[in-house]
């Protein structure tokens, strides 16, 4: 399998291509099911698949960081199902990297058990058309979710993201932060849904969506939605979309920065909090390089 060197050199690598499976890790791989226990870091590489279903099981008390990297040069459909058992923690960073402008559909479902945690870091700097559906089920008490998503659209990119968070148990927590930038003629459509069912009291469901449109033809549409059927909960949602703040721009210009420099600084200030969360120098650098190319 043609795996990029920087991935191949990692300690734990699991790769899937059209007709090959690669496992350089001490973890069990049953057909398309990965079972992870203990505490470690794994690179999951998807090489130009047409259609793929993958299941991941994070065992009880496990603590894992997964870097999901997918190279695509043709129409691709990926389904990912992740079960996180009690007291386990999964931090999943995902980046779908197109080799050509192509269409990609990804559907992911996460099921969280008692006191388990999921941290999703979604890097969407995809050239082409990308549909992402993320569904997170907080099925048992004290399950908690943090999603940080950075989407930078450029050229004619068409990005559609549907996020569903279902609070299916009491005392569950979720926070979604979407950071969106649209440049040139890119279109970013987001539907962000949080549901707290009746009886699932003391749950906490929050959504924060921020968008900057850098061009005349760029477009960002966000629908933050909350479906709450219980009184004793905390919930918040909001979307703030606009152009670069004129006051911020004037402030930076008044110190002698050029307009381009000032705008770049404001944008880097916008995306830095996401980059700082990746905690992987190589992938951080890769993202910065990509962003500099895009906008």
């Amino acid at each position: 399998m043609n795996i990029p060197k920087y991935i191949k050199n990692q300690k734990n690598v699991i790769g899937f291509s059209k007709d090959e499976v690669y496992n350089k890790s001490g973890y069990i791989l049953e057909t398309d099911r990965i079972i992870l226990s203990g505490s470690d870091e794994v690179y999951l590489f998807l090489n130009n698949l047409k259609k793929k279903n993958i299941d991941i099981l994070i065992k009880e008390n496990a603590n894992f960081k997964i870097f999901l990297l997918s190279y695509n040069s043709r129409k691709t459909k990926i389904n990912l199902n992740v079960e996180i058992e009690a007291n386990a923690l999964l931090k999943l960073y995902s980046n779908f990297i197109p080799k050509n402008k192509t269409s990609l559909k990804v559907k992911r479902e996460f099921n969280l058990a008692y006191k388990s945690s999921l941290i999703l870091l979604n890097n969407i700097t995809y050239n082409g058309s990308f549909d992402l559906i993320d569904e997170v089920n907080l099925n048992q008490e004290l399950a908690n979710l943090d999603i940080d998503l950075l989407n930078i659209g450029s050229n004619l990119d068409m990005i559609n993201v549907d996020q569903y968070v279902n609070h299916n148990a009491k005392r569950t927590y979720s926070q979604i932060n979407n950071w969106l930038i649209s440049d040139k003629a890119s279109k970013l459509n987001y539907s962000v849904n949080g549901t707290i069912n009746r009886g699932k009291e003391l749950s906490n469901c929050n959504q924060l969506n921020k968008g900057i449109i850098l061009s005349k033809n760029g477009e960002i549409k966000v629908e933050p939605k909350l479906f709450i059927d219980e009184y004793n909960v905390k919930a918040s949602h909001g979307a703030a979309i606009g152009q670069i703040d004129e006051d911020q721009l004037f402030y930076l210009l008044s110190r002698g920065l050029s307009e381009l420099q000032a705008k770049n600084l404001i944008i880097s200030g916008y995306i830095n909090p996401f980059i700082n969360k990746i905690k992987n120098k190589r992938l951080e650098k890769q993202l910065i390089t990509k962003i500099n190319r895009l906008i």
């Binding site: 006051d247 004037f250 210009l253 008044s254 110190r255 002698g256 420099q261 600084l265 200030g269 830095n272």
Partner: protein
Amino acid sequence: MVLEFKDLFVSVEGNTILKGINLKVKTGETHAIMGPNATGKSTLAQVCMGHPKYNIESGEILLDGKVINNKSVDERARMGIFLAMQNPIEVPGVTNFDFIKAALQKRMKKDEHLRIGKFILKFEAASQALDMGKGLAHRFLNQGFSGGEKKRNEILQMEMLTPKFAFLDEIDSGLDVDALKLVGEHVTKQKSADLGLILITHYQRLLDYIEPDFVHIMINGQIVKTGKNELITKIDQEGYEWVKTELGIEEDEDKPYSLGNCPTKSLV
């Protein structure tokens, strides 16, 4: 160097705010502009900095004899004009360090390089002198700063960027007595033959620490009186009514036009 305003008329959204400002400031001088609310003091500073909101109807702003009316904001800054703002803006995600470093680098000639070690030492020393606490360099620009911290950060930027002319727009608001003394003394230390200071304030208290060479009173968009320290004392004791009576100034018939609120500090 000389910064000069010649018969300057300025409007915003059709309302004329400055109605014929004439003022000359040389490097090495400290000028105080005082006056009641909404008389155009901050407008003068913002116009000099090139804020796009304001429209120069007539008149000129000159820097060393060259008209700068059409210069962009950043060009004016690099020519040596600085504005310590009344309401410093928060820029999340951008650290103080990166911001000031970028501003300094932009001022340098192509063959010059910023000496980072020297820069850090100067930054840390200024930060300490202004009692900004440790870690200022890595804090996001003005984000989560108290009112006083924001004002002190403006002074720190002034020190780092070494402008030729600096407007300090109500730098005293939001500062408690100790912070005011600290800021006042720090600004006084920066006074030099290469820096012209224009202090905009309502009150005497800032001028107790930064002694001006000239005091101007601005009413209804005009500088109506210029003097020295004796004016400050009289304003502190009697307010501005005596100026209006003495000069026969009548209240502007136009409705006052609000450009926003001056920052205030409330007691909890």
